[in-house]
């Protein structure tokens, strides 16, 4: 009863085949602070994870009505999370601090988010706090060129870990990091040589500050192949109802081309609204009491496929009468920061 509204954080670890997800987890989970973490994996890989709360889940996806891939419910995940919840509430396992879901290399993380947000029980007990994506410094460029799935994984990420930096040259690493920044300007990028990474750093919830990242890395609209990203702001407070109309309309018609929406929106209240969405799946927007920093402007990053930034800006401009503010690209003239 006393648990009230507290939800257990779920961290999604994704990354392309062989990009070092399990190695990274193996290192991080051995730290004492992570002992009350349950891990759900899709397959037991060659690198064994030695952890007492390890569960294997077989990917069972249930495609819903309109057949859109990102709006599928992962039944296997529902069952596994409900079982963990049951064990936790009966007190049969130590208090559950966190659940880590490791996806297969080919998985699209959107259905996992969708599953947690939509399930009538899970939505009250779990919340997705962050999506971690691993990228292999040696083969990362190749994966990004050839596999649209890996671009989706980067777009969905809140934090990106570049692994195997020990095996690639510093030039290659720098090039990859700047490419990642161009695809997803809102994500924080870390480097992990030999799969070593500080758990605190990786799993720390940056809260609203992480959503403000758009400002720090604001760059000109970027085009990487067919993926475009744009950081934008508004010249005043935005009508939240109107923004909801615009975004829900966009997601209905062009949802599969919108890989990511993330940022803070000034709605004319004391604090901003945190907007965070991966494809069709929007995190429950959080209305904050105050701004996380001094900058009180809206800042939103949109990562799209096929849709050009000019189209998005033009559309927001046309909706300006409803929104009550006009959009403008953020930080034009900046270059991609090289961390």
């Amino acid at each position: 009863m006393a648990a009230g509204r507290s939800t257990r954080p779920v961290t999604i670890v994704t990354g392309f085949l062989g990009s070092g997800k399990t190695t990274l987890l193996g290192g991080v989970l051995s730290e004492p602070s992570m002992s009350n973490t349950a891990v759900l994996v899709n397959e037991f890989g060659e690198v064994g994870l030695d952890h007492h709360l390890l569960r294997r889940v077989d990917e069972r996806a249930v495609l819903l009505g309109n057949g859109c891939v990102c709006c599928t419910t992962r039944e296997d995940l529902v069952d596994a999370l409900l079982e963990l919840l049951d064990l936790d509430q009966r007190g049969e396992i130590p208090r559950l601090d966190r659940v880590v879901v490791e996806t297969t290399g080919l998985a699209d993380p959107a259905p996992i988010l969708h599953t947690v947000f939509v399930d009538p029980v899970l939505q009250h007990h779990f919340s997705v706090d962050l999506v971690l994506t691993t990228v292999d410094a040696v083969n990362g460029d190749l994966h990004l060129d050839r596999n649209p799935e890996s671009v989706k994984q980067i777009a969905a990420a809140d934090k990106i870990v570049v692994t195997k930096t020990d095996a690639a040259g510093p030039e290659a690493v720098r090039g990859l990091i700047s490419r990642l920044g161009a695809i997803n300007p809102s994500a924080r990028v870390f480097e992990a040589a030999f799969g070593e990474m500080d758990a605190g750093e990786l799993f720390r919830q940056d809260g609203a500050v992480s959503h403000a990242a758009a400002r720090a890395t604001a760059v000109e609209p970027h085009d990487v192949g067919e993926t475009h990203s744009v950081s934008l702001t508004f010249d005043g407070a935005v009508d939240w109802a109107a923004f909801g109309i615009w975004l829900s309309m966009l997601l209905h018609t062009r949802g599969e081309d919108v890989l990511r929406v993330k940022g803070l929106l000034d709605v004319g209240k004391a604090g901003p609204v945190v907007v965070n969405g991966v494809q069709h799946t929007i995190h429950p927007p959080e209305h904050l009491d105050r701004w996380p920093d001094e900058d009180h402007r809206s800042r939103i990053v949109l990562i799209t496929k096929e849709i050009r930034p000019e189209e998005l800006l033009g559309s927001l401009e046309a909706f300006g009468g409803l929104l009550g503010a006009r959009p403008s690209p953020l930080g034009a003239g900046h270059v991609v920061p090289s961390q």
């Binding site: 509204r5 109309i245 829900s248 309309m249 966009l250 209905h252 927007p285 209305h287 189209e311």
Partner: protein, 123 residues
């Protein structure tokens, strides 16, 4: 569906309604329900006005239905009941017979022209 009030139970709150839902849940027992309901009604009415500014270009119209649902109608008298913005757009697409795309250059042009020529008493 509840047989007494004809309302179905909504397990899934659309993200655009979340701020209202969260406030309702956060409200302490014994707090004034009327204040919250007033805001909720005002919010819904505001959303209907804004949505109609877009829907009118497709020959559609939205109304609030009893403060719990919305009804979308076309000019032939066909109508659908929708729960939230998530189910509104598919219904609008069915009634209009085409996709409602905010990136559509024609729609953008029409909206831009409207802004350039503010019509008195339009809202």
């Amino acid at each position: 569906m509840c047989v007494l009030c004809g309302q179905d139970f909504v397990a899934q709150v659309h993200w655009t309604d979340r701020h209202l839902e969260d406030r309702a849940r956060a409200a302490a027992p014994g707090s004034d329900p009327v204040a919250y309901q007033g805001d909720r009604r005002r919010d819904r009415a505001h959303r209907v006005v804004l949505t109609n500014e877009i829907l009118c270009h497709y020959g559609l119209k939205l109304d609030d239905w009893g403060g719990s649902k919305y009804v979308i109608r076309d000019r032939k008298g066909r109508s659908e009941i929708v729960q939230d913005l998530g189910s509104l757009w598919p219904a609008a697409e069915r009634l209009a017979g085409r996709a409602l795309d905010p990136l559509d250059p024609t729609l953008r042009q029409v909206l831009a022209d409207e802004r350039a020529l503010p019509v008195a008493g339009g809202g």
